[in-house]
């Protein structure tokens, strides 16, 4: 069944199961995302893809919302830009993102978002919370200072690798991603050392050891490849 609706006054249509974000991307309408990764189940965690629906006061996350017939969606209003900039400022305020000395400097989705959304400084200041680094794995490490809790690592490990080594522990500001039952990554009995989490991570939180500043480039192409291979019957 096909649904017809409008995005930014353009007539568009969605096929069965397609989200507003899917349709926007088909029409090259840019909607910023951070927790979304093509090939993984969307969760609507980061709220960057919030869009306006005419006649509704509530904003909806485009990545997990299916359009209804006749909906009129707006993706780039001044209000949305303001909210998106505030979301990114809060991510910077909560973490300890020192781009200049990060392995992902120049290849980071958070850094790029800040630039794209015109975030030149933080009006909020920073929390400077002490966060851990776990370098116990023989090839990989996680720096929680740079984690934005997008859960892309959790989902790729569960849905694609089938290991479910990663999960989330704690609530609110205490939330953090963990390996197994919050054990050191290097002692994990479920981790297959595949490295999918490293590539799925949008920032420098998950990285390969031996990478220096700016050297950690992520590659998520494997997701499309694996998905295509698995769909071939």
């Amino acid at each position: 069944m096909v649904t017809t609706f409008k995005i930014n006054e353009m007539d568009v249509s969605a096929g069965e199961g397609e989200t507003i974000l899917d349709v926007a991307r088909q029409h090259h309408i840019h909607v910023p995302t951070l927790c979304h990764l093509e090939g993984l189940t969307p969760v609507g965690a980061c709220r960057l893809c919030l869009v306006e629906v005419k006649g509704s006061a509530a904003l909806v996350p485009a990545c997990v919302t299916r359009a209804a017939e006749g909906m009129e969606i707006s993706t780039d209003s001044e209000r949305l830009q303001r909210y998106r900039r505030m979301i990114v400022e809060m991510l910077f305020a909560e973490g300890n993102h020192i781009c200049a000395v990060c392995v992902s400097n120049g290849h980071c989705e958070l850094q790029a978002l800040a630039g794209d959304l015109g975030m030149t400084h933080s009006r909020l200041g920073f929390l400077y919370r002490q966060k851990r680094i776990d370098a116990s794995h023989y090839r990989f490490a996680i720096d929680h200072n740079r984690c934005v809790l997008c859960t892309r690592c959790v989902r790729v490990c569960d849905e694609i690798e089938g290991a479910h080594t990663w999960d989330v522990m704690g609530r609110g500001i205490q939330s953090q991603v963990i390996t197994d039952l919050a054990q050191p990554w290097g002692s994990s009995s479920t981790c297959t050392n595949c490295g999918k989490c490293i590539n799925a991570c949008p920032t420098g939180a998950l990285f390969k050891k031996s990478k220096a500043v700016g050297e950690m480039e992520k590659d998520t192409h494997f997701l499309g490849y694996i998905r295509t291979m698995r769909e071939v019957k």
Binding site: H97, I98, V101, G115
Partner: protein, 174 residues
């Protein structure tokens, strides 16, 4: 002839990389020299910050009692203040000590890892409890992130400010 603008540059808690990037303006420095008088800077010999400055570029975060006094004095005597580079804009590397109390930072530098232990007390300015970006200490007119900001961006922003317009910059951290 248009009055020459009085330009200053200052170096708080930073690595001087932003000043290096400023010097990377190369031949544009000649055009700039025709428009401004550089009245105070690590690059010139003036020892005290003058009373009446049109534009000041600030490199570095506010980390010590001296930085704090300087930036407050500078703000009072500057028409347009530009936070130059990530240390001035976000705190950057100097702010990485904010996760720890000052006593732990000093102990690490001057006791735990020192061959001849001894924490300097009188000869150097005291560290503030928290390193802060400039705009969280005094009002800033223009922020220019980057580590360092590319010379081309410094040029664009500085010329816009000298022309009295607001620069519309495409800059990023790091």
């Amino acid at each position: 002839m248009m009055a020459r603008a009085r330009l200053a540059t200052v170096w708080l808690d930073g690595c001087s990389g932003c000043h290096m990037s400023f010097l990377d303006l190369d031949e544009v420095l000649l055009d700039l020299a025709a428009r401004v008088d550089l009245v105070y800077s690590p690059l010139v010999d003036a020892k005290t910050f003058p009373e009446d400055v049109d534009v000041t570029l600030v490199e570095g975060a506010v980390s010590s009692s001296e930085d704090l006094e300087k930036i407050q004095h500078i703000r009072r005597h500057t028409r347009r203040l530009i936070a130059l580079g990530d240390c001035a804009v976000t705190g950057n590397v100097p702010s990485m000590r904010n996760m720890y109390p000052v006593s732990a930072v000093l102990a690490r530098a001057y006791t735990d890892t020192a061959q001849i232990p001894g924490t300097p007390r009188d000869a150097v300015p005291a560290l503030l409890p928290v390193v802060r970006p400039v705009h969280l200490v005094v009002p800033v007119d223009v922020v220019l992130p980057g580590c360092p900001p590319p010379a081309a961006l410094i040029k664009e922003v500085l010329l816009a400010v000298l022309d009295g317009t607001t620069p519309n910059l495409k800059a990023r951290f790091g």
